[in-house]
Structures are given as C-alpha cells and as structure tokens.
Symmetry: C2
Subunit: 449 residues, 2 copies
C-alpha cells in the first residue's frame, strides 16, 4: 500500500475551496476582458536559459529544474512575466502593438515553506505592452478597482506612486546613485518602524536631514491635491514633475471613470522593491486587513523583453495575488461556502419512478438550475444529512405518495422549512416553481454555448 | 540575446486559440456543475511513487521526473486519474460518499511528438465514486450529451457498451482467458480492416467460427432494441445478461431525460483498450469527423484507489479530450474567431476629451459590454485597421466634431456600415444604444460577484 500524501509546500483543493477560487478567477477573467485584455497561455516548462536569463539569484535558486528525455535543460515557470517576455518577443509581429493580455496560471517556486508560503500557487497577471500612454497606466488602476468591487469587497484602497517622483526627490537630495538601497529600505516601512528604517538609511550613509525629508515624503497623506502639491515642491523640475503630473492624471481619470473619491490614494510610501519599475507603481490593500499586504500590485516598466528581442516593449502590468486574496476572504469570514456547485439536491426513492426523476432533473437543468440527482436510494434522513453537510440550498423530496398526489416537497436546507409544490406531473411547471422558490424569477440564465 | 522559443511538443496559446479554449472550458464547467459535479484541484507535482504505482510501462517511460531541492523523487502528473485516486484515498472521510468531482487541468507526457501529439495538454475529467448505481452510469452519458450540445455540436453520437456483455460473449466462446488480447485486437476496428483484425485474432489462436461471431458482434448496428436482443442471445445468462440489462436502462434513461432518439447508440464494437473498465464503456464521435476519434470517453471501474486505501471506491468517469475537440472544431471551420474578448473598440483622438472617453468606456462596461479603449491617439485608419485585424464586432468613433454635435459613429466592423447615434453627452444613453445596435437588448448580463 502506498501512503496517499502531497509534497511539502503543495496542497489539494477540496470542493469548498476550489469553488471559491473558481468564482474569483471567473470574476477576474470577466473584469480583465471588460477592458479588452485577451487571454494567452504558455507552457509550464521552458528552456532553462529562458528562465535563468534574468539572473536573479533568488529565483534561480528556487527554480524546479531538470534534464528532460531529450537531454534538454528545462525548468518550471516561477512567474508569468518571464514567459510573457519570451512570448511577446516570439510573437510580436503576429500580435500587433499595443497588446493587452491576461494570463491566469500556476507557477512553482522551491521556497522555504516556513513562512506559510506554498511552492505551487496561481498568478493572475494582466499587462499592456507596446504603449507608453497614460491611458494604459490609468487602466491598471481601474482594473484593480473594478476587480475588487466585483469580488464583493467594498472597503479597500488602491495606492499609487510614481518612480519618477521618488527619483526626483532622491536626485535633489544627492542620493540618485544610492536609489536602489534607499528604496529597498523605504519599502520596509509598515513592517518596520520609522526609527528602524531611519537607522538603516543612516547606516547607508544618508545624512540626517535627507533621512528626515525621505521620511516626511513617505508619510505624506491626505487629499490628493495637497499630497501632489507637496510632492511637486520636494521633487523639483524634470522627471519628478512628470511623475507628479502623471499621478494627477491618474487621480482625475479615476474620478472621470466613476471611481469613488478616496478609493485611489497617492501614497509616496509605495516604492515596490523591484528595480525594473520606471513609472507608475501601485499596490492595493483591504481596509479591514491592513496586515495582509497588497492584494494586487504592479507598475510601469521600460522594456519587457530586452533579453529576447531588440524591439523595445515598454509596458505596464499588475498581478492579482489570488492565494493571498483567498486567505483574506477567509479571514474576513467570507471564504467558507458550500461544497457543491448545485442549487438543488434531488432525493431518490428507488427505480420505480426513475424515469420521472430523470425528467424532473432535466427540466430543472433546462430552467437553469444545477441539480444533483442522488444516485443511491438510501434512507431519506441519510440523504438529507449529506445534502446538508454539502451546503445545498434546497432539497427536492418526491416519494411514491407525492408522485401519486402530484406534489413535491421543497426543503430549504438552511431554515429546514418545507414548501409543498403542486405540479401534477408537469416537470417544467415544477422547475419553474422551484426557480421562484429559490428566488430566481425571470427567464433562466442558462444559454447555450 | 537569448533565442525566444518553446520546447518541442509544447506550444503557446495566442488569444484567438485561448479564447476558444476558455469558451469550451467554461461550457464544460457549467455542464459538469449542472449535474452536481464539484471542482477539485491537485498539485502538478506528486511523489514519484504515487505516479509510478500503477506500473504502466508506457506512462512510466513518459513521466517527467526529477529530484527536488529536498532530495525527494518527484514527477509531473501524466493524467488526472492517478492524482484523483490519491486524493480520494486521502480525503474520503472529509468528502463523504458518493462523491462527484470534475477536474480540468494540464498534464504532461514526454511522448513521441511525431504523431502530432503534444507533451503538454489539458484533461477535463468527471467521475462519480463510491456508488455502483445505474443512475451514475447514465449520468455519464447525459453529461457527455449535454456537453456536446452546449458546445454547439448537433451531429454526434454517444456510443455505449458494457464490458460484461463482452465478457459474456467471450466466455461462451471459451475465450475468457484471452479477453485482454482479444479486446485489444477488436479495439483496432475502424483503424484496421475487419480482415486484418480477423487475421490478428486467428494469430492469437482464436478459432474461425469464434472469429466470425466476434466480428458479427462488433458489427451489430440498428435500433437499440434489436441490437440488445441479439446481444442477449450471444452473451447468454450471467454477467452478460446484467450488462445487456444495464445498456437497456441507459437507452431508456437517456430517452426519459429528453435525449433525442439515435444520439445514444449501443455499439458492441466499443471495448476501450484499458483493462480496468468493468461495466459501462462509452465513446463519442462527431458525425462530420468520424476519423477524429472519440471526443469524450470513459467507463465504470471496480476500484479507483486500491493502491492507496483498503476502502473500495467503485466509480464511473469520463474525460473530455479538449485538444482533440478544439482540433475538430477548427477542421469544421468553427475554430477561428476574434483575437479579442471585447465587444467594442473605442477609438482615441487625444487627451482633450480623455475624461469623456473614460466616462463612455465606464458606461459601456456598466451596460455589460467589454470595451477596449485604445490607448494611443494614432490616425483613425490605423486604429480601425488593428480593430479589424483583431476581430472586434464594432468600433465606436467619437472625434471632436462628434463631441460638439453630441453624436457618435458606431461602425460594424464586419459590414463596414456605420450608424450615427445621438447621445447628447449622456454616456449611459449611448451605452444603451450601442447594446441595442449590437443585438443585445434587455437588461445587461453583467452581475456583480
């Protein structure tokens, strides 16, 4: 006998979890599409040189790699950005530019699992490449906003900043050369105290007054106009001004698109650790779970695929951290749900009325309801116990007596209340009555194809 | 510079393909759910011993396997059945029985690619375990039927048989001991001629009259009643009779559930090569592409997870071969489609009216339409050329003059006809008019969450 078990850092998704995940993926797909992002897919396995080309020590170390049957060195993708860069370089002529894609797929990293991280997880990326338009930047913010609203989250903030503003301020402080280290330290705020970050900056040789300015900058808060005015003073002319103006456009554009005031916040404390961002950077947080971290993050980059093509591909993109979001929904008590996707549990009393049950199940499905016709003629109590455990909203009970009387018992599994429906052998009439009882009036939602 | 390329046997999915695939997956998910099958997911990587436990020489040879960072021998899943067996053994107490699941995911096999096979492909399995009920068998047939109809295929057959019938006939011919070899030979019919199969059977030592009976059996065709009557004569009493009765129930049940007569066909020629089927077996074929092979196949097995648990888990399952189906749709001229998921291309004439464009795009999305607002203020002809190449149904053109006049031009990209819409600055009125022009009257389909 072989012990059934999963590898460390890997996990199964049972129906209750899988249903919540499918719902969120479905919402993400709908929102991405509503902005014209098109789906793509790439292989899980790539030539090793494609994946290690970026030369990040951390990802290289975490890479699942091996030699395949043909002696090729291959690796499993660790994110969706590197495969997209390879994809874009390979297909740019077919695709045309600008090109907007989404990609929702699994990635693998042999990470240390002690921090509650998984070695297999999903990413949901969306990017617009081949454009430097401010419209593309703005759309990132709008997509993140619409996505969180569509998932049913009301209390959240999309926090935006611009790397050029940071560069402008650092330039005026004479810290342009040390930008990477300084930004990395500033990025720790929130996790570390201001004092600790100040000490770290001073340890890098940043002078006291400059440290004070930097800490003032990242702490700026309040109405966007005021924050942007102060940032303009701090960043001076040049790229810093362009960054401030860009942020002004984001705030105004979000308002024009109908985003409620206060949902999009200019936050000079958002730096994003990654070196390759060059313009807008954004993160998003749930008001009720500030410690969860950013749910959806991204920014503008100068060139996606410089390793694979000479054609410059500037772009802007972001990624929904779906596993983090699902953990957040669970923490908010909104992760639990039924173990079944079906609306109705149809109890079974045996083969005498099998044809009738089949007709009823077919009529319910025609009416747009998902129905599980229980295959075993167990005792009714046992059937209903399983239906209850699995979270069916309703159970339809039609035994021999009911068939004779032309009635059916519809049991609300939450309240345990029963309704008697008279259907007189007309399965479609029964299905229509069940729809109404489940609060689904109107025409069935089900469409073919 | 690193050459951007994919591994042999692996491929990218560009938007046009990815959109068709997403549509089919969506339909499959909806149909599976309408019967109460619940989603699950399992890791791409499993302990090697889990995957090699079945001991099939072919799959073992094709397995992508390696040693991970922790020194564990691991492999990438080559199907969804073995991981499901491991999953079921591990979680059966949590899940309860019977348990119905679907699993749509990628699998990997280091196959010979010369036959046009890919080394990475998707499977869409659905199984009901923990039940021997004929209802569960019947539902396989109904799901396959509903699935093909929902995808938009009208001309197809679901072909069913029962392994017990085959066993009964073989028993009466004294060939019970040689069943595996005989079934394997019979399974070649369709690809090979009757003469070739007869020669192969005789080569196995099957006597001439028995070969004739076997060939008569697999060629039986016509009304189900007649085929079943003749099969009953050939199979005799015992398990053969049970198989015939079971098939009778399938035919009657499908009719009761509303499946048109002739769509479900009893075909004694369906054997399915795999040894583990013990009851119903089914395949399905497109009438217009008989050479494509079966699109959706499966059957009943005695025990899913005997390698991992002592608890017997009988079940019945089938799998949609989505890559084969997509190839078939393409061959039927129904694979091509737009490269964009969006309904409307919104042309851009520059920042002067940016806020207006954003309001219009937001109103279109509120009205349930997907809209790509083009981020670059290129010449209109260039914008429309890209919109046409990408297959947008419609383009909305609103330049300075139109804004002044309170009008908009809606261009049907297929006919190149334009309609003028008067909207007088009311973006929601414009969106409603666009919906109607696109043939989407009624309330918007978009619902939150």
């Amino acid at each position: 006998m072989i012990q059934p078990r999963t590898l460390k850092g890997f996990r199964d998704h049972l129906p209750a979890q899988a249903l919540v995940r499918e719902r969120v993926l479905d919402v993400a797909r709908r929102v991405y599409r509503s902005y014209g992002f098109a789906p793509i897919d790439t292989p899980a396995l790539e030539y090793l040189e494609i994946l290690t080309g970026k030369g990040s020590e951390e990802t290289d170390k975490q890479l699942y790699r091996f030699t395949d049957h043909g002696g090729r060195e291959v690796g499993m993708r660790f994110d969706l950005t590197v495969p997209f860069a390879r994809f874009a370089a390979q297909h740019v002529n077919e695709l045309g530019l600008p090109f907007k894609r989404y990609h929702m797929a699994t990635v693998w990293r042999g990470e240390n699992t002690q921090r509650g991280r998984y070695r297999e997880f999903m990413q949901c990326d969306f990017d617009a490449i081949g454009t430097t338009s401010p419209v593309a930047d703005l759309e990132m913010v709008l997509v993140v906003h619409d996505l969180l609203v569509a998932i049913g989250i009301e209390r959240f903030k999309v926090r935006v900043n611009d790397r050029r503003v940071l560069a402008g301020v650092l330039g005026r402080l004479g810290l342009a050369e040390r930008a990477t280290g300084v930004l990395r330290s500033l990025d720790k705020l929130g996790k570390a105290t201001a004092e600790a970050v100040a000490a770290e900056l001073e340890g890098q040789g940043v002078a006291g007054p400059a440290v004070a300015t930097l800490l003032e900058m990242v702490a700026l808060a309040g109405p966007a106009d005021e924050v942007l005015g102060r940032l303009h003073d701090m960043a001076g002319d040049g790229p810093g001004t362009a960054g401030v103006e860009s942020l002004r456009g984001i705030v105004a554009g979000a308002a024009a698109a109908g985003v409620p005031v206060g949902r999009v916040v200019v936050d000079p404390g958002i730096a994003r650790g990654l070196d390759y961002y060059t313009g807008i950077v954004l993160e998003s947080f749930l008001d009720d779970l500030p410690g969860l971290g950013s749910i959806c993050s991204g920014g503008r980059y100068d060139d996606l695929a410089g390793l694979y093509t000479k054609q410059p591909l500037p772009g802007v993109g972001a990624s929904l951290g779906i596993d983090r979001l699902l953990a957040g929904l669970e923490e908010l008590g909104r992760g639990g749900g039924p173990e079944t996707p079906a609306d109705v549990f149809l109890a079974y009393f045996g083969p005498a009325h099998l044809a009738d049950y089949l007709k009823i199940a077919a009529a319910l499905r025609r009416a747009g309801l998902a129905v599980e016709f229980f295959p075993e003629a167990r005792k009714l109590g046992q059937q209903l116990k399983l239906a209850s455990k699995r979270g069916f909203p309703a159970a339809l009970v039609i035994g021999g007596d009911e068939f004779q009387a032309g009635t059916a018992q519809l049991k609300n599994m939450a309240s345990q209340d029963s309704t008697i429906i008279a259907w007189h052998g007309d399965a479609d009439a029964l299905a229509a009555a069940v729809r109404v009882a489940l609060g689904r009036p109107g025409s069935p939602a089900r469409t073919s194809g």
